[in-house]
Symmetry: D2
Subunit: 247 residues, 4 copies
């Protein structure tokens, strides 16, 4: 799995196919998620056609599934329909919080891995759960920054950093992103990529916001690689204060 | 005053002229600050030569001045030496905190404006002081995010937003920036530009960090223009949860 | 289950029995946790004697257990030794993070409830997991503020508020507390009580810190009940600005 | 100047004298601020009578003054009327933000000190300005946590800690407090006292909230004295994990 762009963009929340196309192009994304359960065949057809025309790879997801059983069936459906082993695994606990359910998630991940899927596991920000998912053989762990659609950013950077530190598979920050600095922070914490949808599709100007995130992810990645200055409790002049002329 | 790049980069803290040149180029900056009081004529000559070769405009600053009198003299010195009316006005209270001194700052700003300078006023994040500076006729207010060299980011985003909201002149976030997400946040708060030095010059890989900030400032500006989604206390699915198949 | 004090204090980390006694008294606590696995019979005897002399109820815990099997055995051991059905259930994923393991925790909670235990379940701050624990019949959910012993406070207040909002059983903030304001915040978020140990036992002056927490928990509870003023983006004078004399 | 209680409570925002009395009693305060400019003689009479009956010392303030001249005149008025040299000096920049104006504040402080007043200077959270005020001879510096009436708490704890660290006179956190944990935090940062008004008078249950703050200030002070545990990036068991039985 290798992409030039570290920004993955979902298709959810887009008011029109045309607007979505513009945003996808502006984002520079090479991978997009599509909910299998939310499309009748007609509109789904157009959506898959669009994404395919743009040369963007599709990552089907199991959004809206509450149980491992539902999620596995949805994944099989996606594999048949889209001829891909890749699946973004989402198993939510309820439709108020849309938070992942740890137990069903682990069950589904285990089944999907054993059926030969490449599993991208959407999870909460629990570092212990991330380790379990990795041990089950998922291809990537995708912790949330905040609940889906809230735009609250990364509520617990400490946990995201812990997940990154202990993970042997790619970590993708997924859900909660509201604006560019959130995405930059995710990358600075060591994430390998960022996945977002409504932060773009429901912004006032989606293509412009997509472009913002494109730059933000690059910025955060470069900053993580460049080795930031340490935080200091006290000020420090940018140069020594000697050599001043007498005035 | 018009620049393509909204990232201004100071020259302080750079270990070598060569490294500085690389970082300036990578940052894409069109305006750089140079401390008048910190250079003997020899090294200053090389520095100004370098900056001039790169086609970057110089903004001399009064770093290290503790009084209005010192700052005004330093500005006059800069005007003579560099043939520019532009001056970044810095009057600090002490050399532990390097925080601006409100009283001397106002005094110096008034004198400099009356002497025909174009004053870029480095200030704390007090919205009332920013209004006073604007009334005195400064060209831009430059509030700090955190004390110089700390890398603590923007300690009080509320105040920066207040300053932006009430300002009729450009607002440049100056000092305290540690990493890319800090710069993106500054722009999202509505700042017109970001000025930084040690966050680049003292990073482990200065050119890479300069490039990070170049993208971060673009990202934050685009995000500010694009109209972010509102923060929501509760989750919201990216698409309606109907239309699911029976499984 | 009814206590006057909403501060529960663990015994872990205390350098001496005498110091622990002083701190327990100063805290005003009526419930203390004791690790079953960490005491040989001699020192355990002194500890239980002390606690009993102070009239403080003991809540044995399963600290140091990595599996449901270990935790259930430890709980049975505690029931035999201490003649109490109460058990603080702790099942950790590893000894670096000391974070709860969701899967083993759920398994253990189910077994313990079916064996007639009154289960106080130490958990991470995942609102979905808290709901699962409640459905299994635990007596209280005890989400962490931050990893054990870190003193980082409440890393994700949003999640704690969500847990409280959805919980039908008492919520006790457990782990991560560093200082008094953390405990007050926990109560303001709606928690029913706070449990802490090292924040007191490893403070420089444990009895004084215990007293601090005693007041902090009362303060936070009263504030939660009293209905705080809303946060406002802009200032508001405490009285109307009319009626001023002419000067 | 010596008080048992470190909570000072203002009278602004109280809907009735009776409610105010209850809240003052519940707060345990020994010092209350009263705005000189906001009371006609009749209601002011009742207010001063009430406060006097409660045995609470009055600290008149210059709320609503925009200039040093106004503030000095108001202070003189207060001295005549109330026979006290004590004055809380408030000079605000405008009636939208109610933020202190650094320049007029310094001017007024200098005049008042030279006229023999004991000056409690309400200021922003600028550490450099606090030093200037101290040098002018004020009795206490009173930095804001956030703009008056916002309830946003302490927006910049870093600055408050800096002010405390450098101050030779008492530091009183004034303005912005919303709830108990804010007040506890102020004390933990090293403040000597907290002053608040609307956080109590506009709470849903003012006497209960006053009581909350009474405990919060005690809690924060004790915690500051007791020496909190350091923040740690990683978990640490509260006791060694040896001595476990074989299970």
């Amino acid at each position: 799995m290798s992409f030039h762009s570290r920004l993955f963009m979902g298709t959810g929340g887009a008011p029109s196919l045309y607007g979505l196309a513009e945003a996808l192009i502006a984002s520079g994304t090479e991978l997009t998620t599509v909910a299998m359960r939310r499309h009748d065949s007609a509109s789904a057809g157009s959506l898959f056609g669009l994404v395919s025309d743009l040369g963007v790879r599709v990552l089907p997801n199991t959004a809206g599934c509450f149980t491992a059983r539902e999620a596995v069936l949805t994944a099989e459906l996606a594999r048949d329909a889209l001829e891909t082993d890749w699946i973004k695994l989402e198993v939510i606990a309820d439709d108020q919080t849309l938070l992942p359910d740890a137990l069903e998630l682990l069950d589904a991940a285990e089944q999907l891995v054993s059926r030969g899927f490449v599993v991208f596991a959407y999870t909460n920000d629990d570092p212990a759960l991330a380790v379990r998912l990795e041990r089950l053989g998922v291809a990537a762990v995708m912790p949330l920054g905040a609940p889906i659609g809230t735009g609250l950013g990364i509520l617990n950077p400490h946990n995201i950093a812990l997940i990154v530190e202990r993970s042997g598979v790619p970590v993708v920050l997924d859900a909660g992103i509201g604006t560019a600095s959130d995405a930059a922070l995710a990358m600075e914490l060591g994430c390998d990529a960022v996945l977002l949808a409504t932060a773009v599709t429901r912004a006032q100007d989606p293509p412009r916001m997509a472009n913002a995130f494109r730059h933000a992810v690059i910025a955060g990645r470069l900053a993580a690689e460049a080795g930031r200055i340490p935080r200091r409790g006290r000020a420090r002049a940018s140069s020594a204060m000697d050599g001043r002329p007498d005035l």
